[in-house]
Symmetry: C2
Subunit: 288 residues, 2 copies
């Protein structure tokens, strides 16, 4: 059980974790922290946090668990502000979508990696953002990946794992670089493609008409293009190498498909489409 959870960044992820832990009766008090007092006030009114402080040092005082749930670009300043101010018995974790960059930010911000810092990433979210969109079931049966490194204490890792399990998640551990490759494939590349497609279409002359004839498939396909632009800018900057590799690989595959269209090669088209359908149907059967 957590006595005092401090959530830095009062948005969809931090808010949903606070709600989940309250629902599970796993947490006695939640203190919020953000640069934006209006978000914090809203979080109090929604019953997501008990109180708040806009100063990270004050906010973490007396906490035994600290969750840093800010955009990747804001991680290092937060870590720097907390340098020398982490309570001795606190574990600290984050929710960043790219792990190597957060670990580097922690190393720079804290001067050296604290043993209490457990890099983490819940594989959950919606295209919504903000605490108003938070809900207790967001992590139910979803995966959380922890990427502890050499310096990370096993006790801190165990406490962070227990917290996510209390929120209903399934926790795995892996190497940070491997996490970054897997996420580039399953999340970062699809987001880049969705943003690129919608942006591409808005620059066609028939824009209004085009969106008028976009049906349900298009709506689902582009849902992730409604995600937060700043968050995704930061992810692209933080995990650029892995994302570029995935874009290159995808572009090559797309060109092969274009060649098949150009050559009226129905056999190749059908084989690729059937293989993709089979993989997705199998995946959906397995995971939903």
């Amino acid at each position: 059980v957590i006595e005092r959870l401090c959530i830095i960044g009062a948005g969809l992820i931090g808010g949903s974790l606070a709600r989940a832990l309250r629902t599970a009766d796993y947490c006695r008090e939640v203190v919020g922290c953000s640069r934006n007092p209006a978000h914090l006030q809203q979080a109090v009114e929604l019953g997501v946090i008990d109180r708040y402080d806009t100063d990270p040092v004050q906010a973490v005082a007396g906490a035994d668990m600290v969750l840093v749930a800010v955009p990747l670009g804001a991680m290092e300043p937060v870590f720097r502000a907390l340098r020398g101010h982490l309570p001795a018995d606190a574990a600290i974790t984050d929710v960043g979508s790219a792990k190597a960059s957060v670990i580097e930010a922690a190393r720079r911000g804290f001067g050296e990696l604290p043993a209490a810092f457990v890099p983490g990433h819940p594989i959950a979210g919606t295209e919504q953002s903000g605490v108003a969109a938070s809900f207790a079931e967001l992590f139910r049966d979803r995966r959380v990946i922890l990427t502890p490194v050499e310096q990370t204490s096993t006790e801190a890792t165990a406490r962070v794992r227990a917290m996510w399990e209390a929120a209903g998640a399934v926790v795995d551990e892996m190497d940070p670089a491997h996490h970054d490759t897997v996420l580039a494939a399953t999340s970062h590349l699809p987001h880049v493609l969705a943003f690129a497609l919608v942006d591409s279409l808005t620059r066609l002359g028939e824009r209004d008409e085009i969106f008028r004839y976009a049906a349900g498939g298009f709506r689902d396909f582009t849902r992730i293009a409604s995600s937060d632009p700043v968050m995704w800018r930061d992810i692209c900057l933080a995990n650029g190498d892995a994302i570029l590799q995935m874009i290159d690989r995808f572009s090559g595959d797309l060109q092969q498909l274009a060649d098949a269209v150009r050559q009226h090669d129905g056999e190749t088209l059908q084989a690729v489409f059937a293989s993709a359908k089979q993989a997705r149907d199998r995946y959906v059967d397995k995971h939903t």
Copy 2:
């Protein structure tokens, strides 16, 4: 009101139209036709059609409306079979996702374009296929595009329009080539991207792991990759030129985004993502 509707191709689209017209009490009898008697028997058992004939000539006898709802590659043989056998007072329409190619197939199949033939395309569907997936509300408030040409009788166009409106759809008319460009952008390109992405990921070494960490965003993004491979092969062959133009345009835009990632150009990334999000949010607000 339609006295006898003949549906050639007893799948999701044909079945859903039959259900919708029955619900609206707009159709007295529905005759099915398909190469596969099992599908037809299932359609009878589901109450979607009243009776069937596997011979198109027999099936259309006495019909005042004929709907051809077969994959694009099967259109020309159907039209050829019906040559000289269309009832004098029947209107005939299709549901193909590419219009120039269907018009050409009709010209070849019938010898010349019948005045009664009204090329059409309901912008509706799901990633499912088959008559078992059909439902009466599929076309409710969805767009149907008719692309009548010089030879098409205005009376036939009016009857086909009235039929789709009875099924709950909003009917527009446009030039076939323009239809093909708009659909390449809003439907064909997204499907190609979704198929290409899933296929690309299945060829990564970490395939099983990758699908394990794919979350809700990925599921929505790739839903259309569960669509029928034969139908999409045919669409890529039938509307290849417009699709290739869209792939080229998209690939260029994707490379620009990749360049921004490579150059750590956060400003460009955020601007593109914000523009895409704004366009999609506006579109969703407007159309859902």
